[in-house]
Subunit: 343 residues, 2 copies
């Protein structure tokens, strides 16, 4: 079982793989992994993956058989294991617990060659609904504190298989980056009784300089302090802290928004590698209610999606400081993305 | 002039380049930059760089001429500009200031092909002394809050020129990662009246599982919650918060330690790309003394060097969460590095 370890200096949890540990010789060859001869995510190869957890298929279709449009399976090489208890423990000054959690793969389409911006809007609705369904199921597990949906597109962005897929990792701790966002939003709310994200979104819509697109439900922005060129941020215009609260109608609008944003990036930047990450509220449902702590959760967060095209290398300065140098002002990026012609 | 912008959600400062802004077409071609025909850092090409700020050369040598062993110059394409005032300002809910700071290059040797682990220990002493001298000079500038020394080795690690060099960036804010380390160490000190880093170092030396090497002055560890395979950490064994306090004798020992650690990584991992970053105390000398805030600075930090071999790709999950998956337990890495034969 992997181990979760806490760094008391950076106050950060890290997953340490204990099985399949990589030896120095494993890092020696830096050639791109060759594609498998048979793609385990393609339709007809359902027996090449672990049994499915969830799928959207035509009525009458057979579980673990063909005929699906979206299929969710456990990751064959999970970063965290679903069985067992956490066994939280001290190791002298350090802290550790068992690497319990979930690691799933959402296969976005049976077609190996269709990416998110190529698929019809209705299909993206199915994918987004599948994300919601998986979160709604996993929040019931009291061991889990956070559920993260993310996508690595392209080898540079960390994808090891090219068949279109998203990943889900559920962790027994709230990851630091997300916890920092809650803290900032909570401090803002306690001072002003307004949501930090709502304030930013309102200001950005009025200014318009960094708005990429806007419909009744969602706004797409390039953040004021973007770390990376063409970094984009999608959020609901109306306050909503949890992604699973997005209604049927909102999911339709989000499918259209996500699809067009990815298409804008694809056209502008020649199909770049990218990552997207959903930032939604933590699992408060089963969380032991510490007095006061989660009382304002409804206003302490505002779910959003971060999309990061992987265009620049991250060097020592960024690692060492969390301080980024962005060579493209977000106003320029927004103007470019706004004006691009989407096919 | 570049602009420093603050993200109120992540509470992070970012440098936004406003001149030389990169357009989408600049990112389209992903071919490695070809080496310049004439290396501006080689001996004899001193006129190809901006005038030097500092150099170690034989007595009688001429400024900006050959005959140096270490040479410090301004970065020709600086991330921050040295002239002007900060002009701290609000932009609605956001914050910005002028991108004032310093960006220097420490050319480690006149020889294009000798890297740190190839140079004699005495030469590394000169390089480390040059780092100290530059920090001692820059702390006098009241606009600057933090001075960061870092090295990108290899294209994957962000190096754009192959001639051996280190960089220095001085910023008018304390970078978030470093500020978080201060906060953790301060909280620990206030509770226990002991240095957090000293506690960790003592525990690690007693356990020995993650110790790579040890001499009278310095310990080399693989951190308990290492983010990356073969991540290493060098720190003085005796409490010392500021790198410029390292004595002549300590610098000799550090030169030997740094050289052997880099040699261990080179032999084990086949000359991997890497980054190192010095984490030293902030510029408190000129800092307006907020009551209580810097009172315990002597115990709120313990300087150290982080070395990160760049062996694995960083994907969406890590960006989105600050939560890392490390496939090599630090105990395995330490054992391997400890036993490697250094030439």
């Amino acid at each position: 079982m992997p181990e979760l370890r806490h760094d008391p200096i950076q106050r950060r949890w890290v997953i340490i793989a204990t099985e399949r540990a990589r030896r120095p010789s494993d890092f020696r060859v830096d050639e791109p992994r060759s594609e498998m001869a048979v793609c385990p995510f393609c339709e007809g190869n359902e027996d090449k993956t672990p049994p499915e957890i969830y799928a959207i298929r035509q009525p009458g279709g057979i579980r673990n058989g063909p005929g699906w449009s979206v299929r969710v399976i456990p990751n064959k090489f999970p970063a965290l294991g679903i069985e067992g208890n956490l066994d939280r423990r001290g190791v002298g000054i350090f802290d550790a617990m068992n690497g319990v959690g979930a690691h799933e793969v959402i296969i976005e389409t049976p077609d190996h060659h269709l990416n998110l911006s190529d698929l019809p809007v209705e299909h993206l609705e199915c994918i987004l609904s599948a994300y919601q369904e998986r979160i709604r199921d996993l929040v019931k597990d009291v061991r889990l504190r956070y559920i993260m949906i993310f996508k690595n597109y392209g080898v540079t962005a960390g994808a090891s298989l090219s068949h279109p897929h998203t990943q889900l990792i559920a962790t027994p701790v709230t990851p630091r980056t997300v916890a920092m966002e809650f803290d900032a939003a909570r401090d803002h709310y306690r001072l002003k009784e307004r949501c930090l994200f709502c304030d930013i979104i309102n200001q950005e819509i009025i200014s318009g300089d960094r708005v990429v697109s806007l419909d009744d439900h969602y706004v797409v922005l390039t953040p004021f302090a973007s770390r990376f060129p063409f970094e984009t941020f999608i959020a609901p215009r109306e306050h909503q802290y949890d992604f699973t609260m997005a209604s049927r109608q909102q999911i339709t609008s989000l499918a259209r928004t996500l699809r067009s944003t990815l298409a804008r990036l694809k056209v502008s930047l020649n199909d770049p590698p990218y990552n997207f990450v959903f930032h939604t509220a933590p699992n408060t449902q089963m969380y032991p209610r510490r007095p006061g702590y989660w009382q304002t959760i409804e206003f302490d967060f505002h779910w959003h999606i971060e999309i990061i095209p992987r265009l620049t290398r991250v060097a020592g300065f960024e690692w060492g400081t969390g301080f980024y140098i962005n060579p493209t002002p977000p106003e320029d990026a927004a103007e470019y993305l706004r004006n691009v012609e989407i096919p």
